[in-house]
Assembly symmetry: C2
Homo-oligomer: 223 residues x 2
DNA sequence: ACCTGAACACCGTTCAAGT
DNA sequence: ACCTGAACACCGTTCAAGT
């Protein structure tokens, strides 16, 4: 007999092995050894299957730290979220698409973030704003970093590289001066994703920017 | 005779009117009055059509400001990106998915951002990190804010609301204490997206967090 | 060069019917 | 309650053939 748990586990396994493009209810049903319509009895839509998969992937992101230490707590949340996606990089596009649309999400994580932000001094409407900023930050970098490139077709990679090499130094001086550092290491200018070329340093700065900015905001409530 | 420009314009119009789910090459071809395979002569894959649509949507996000005023410039980029998506909210999911995967993107925007960041004092590897942080920030909030909710089915909205109302005050004290402010105004806790309920204040704070954090980073190069 | 027209190999979802 | 089996209304992409 099927269960929501086995469906979800097999779905995640399918995505891990074959990629998000192969994640169809028909392939999932085949992997489960049932007809596609059998899955619908437990999860009546594909989006719900995806949401369940994401809950599985993000199961343990809520860190085991006292939220009062708000900087450490938020840093840990960001790091652990990225690590979770790194363990299942093919789910990366679902992070932006589903976390946000998923009200079955883990309220424990939300509570932890809200705790940390109130410990940082945010309350009322500004707590809402700080929360939204945190969720947006949590999702933004990691989704992109590990999202698939246009097909991993070799011709596309060559084409991308040659387009970069043709960049005019007079029209785009700063870009072309730093091209060797940016090539394949920067969003929009890369041809491999975070699975092949992780952007560890950039992610570190990204987090520190957020933490430092948050601290500044709490000290300067008025804009 | 078809052109890439008319295909792209009609595709954007289709997405604006009917939503991203109705954006298929078959519907696009019907709107153009041709067979689906005719489109392939100009744009040989659906992803390329989507990328072209995104270039159209983001055509004018590069602001008309001197990048030396780096704070004003980056603020303007973020605001104008959000405004562009607000004009075509159904394209929101493509922002995260395509901008990052699109090497046909506008190098002018990239150059502008790099200019602003060097004016802020970043260079070398730290310029790369600051750039990646900027792109991630640019995309993160807006993609989520305007991405579609699970189906706009009324039953789903009711279900979401009732799940929020059932949150245990003892398990989730901070969450339930602020629930009235968070309800439908915060990521994961809302049932309508930015088209119905724009998160203007949160976006403002999000930007200011980034700018303030960036300024802090430039002053404290070492972590 | 540009497009028709048909085909291939898929989809998500629904629904009657079985057990 | 749980699943089969078939059907419905779609997909993106390919390819020979026309002009």
């Amino acid at each position: 007999m099927l269960t929501e748990a086995t469906i979800t586990a097999v779905a995640l396994d399918l995505i891990d092995r074959e990629g998000l493009e192969k994640f169809s209810l028909r392939n999932l049903a085949a992997a489960l050894g049932v007809y596609p319509s059998a899955v619908y009895w437990y999860l009546p839509t594909k989006d719900l299957v995806a949401a369940a998969v994401m809950n599985l992937v993000l199961r343990d992101v809520a860190p085991d730290i006292e939220p009062k230490a708000w900087k450490d707590y938020l840093r840990a949340v960001m790091l652990r979220c990225r690590q979770a996606i790194q363990r299942h990089p093919n789910t990366a596009p679902l992070l932006g698409a589903q976390l946000t649309a998923n009200t079955r999400a883990d309220f424990g994580l939300i509570e932890g973030i809200l705790c940390a932000l109130s410990a940082a001094g945010f309350e009322g409407p500004r707590l809402v704003d700080a929360y939204n900023s945190t969720i947006a930050t949590l999702v933004g970098f990691t989704t992109q970093e590990f999202s698939p490139m246009p097909d991993s077709g070799e011709d596309w990679q060559k084409e991308t590289q040659s387009r970069l090499d043709e960049i005019s130094p007079v029209d785009y001086p700063v870009l072309s001066r730093n091209l060797s550092l940016l090539k394949n290491q920067a969003f929009i200018l890369r041809w491999e994703n975070g699975v092949r070329v992780a952007l560890d340093n950039s992610f570190d700065m990204y987090i520190e920017i957020f933490i430092a900015g948050l601290e500044k905001m709490k000290k300067a409530p008025a804009k």
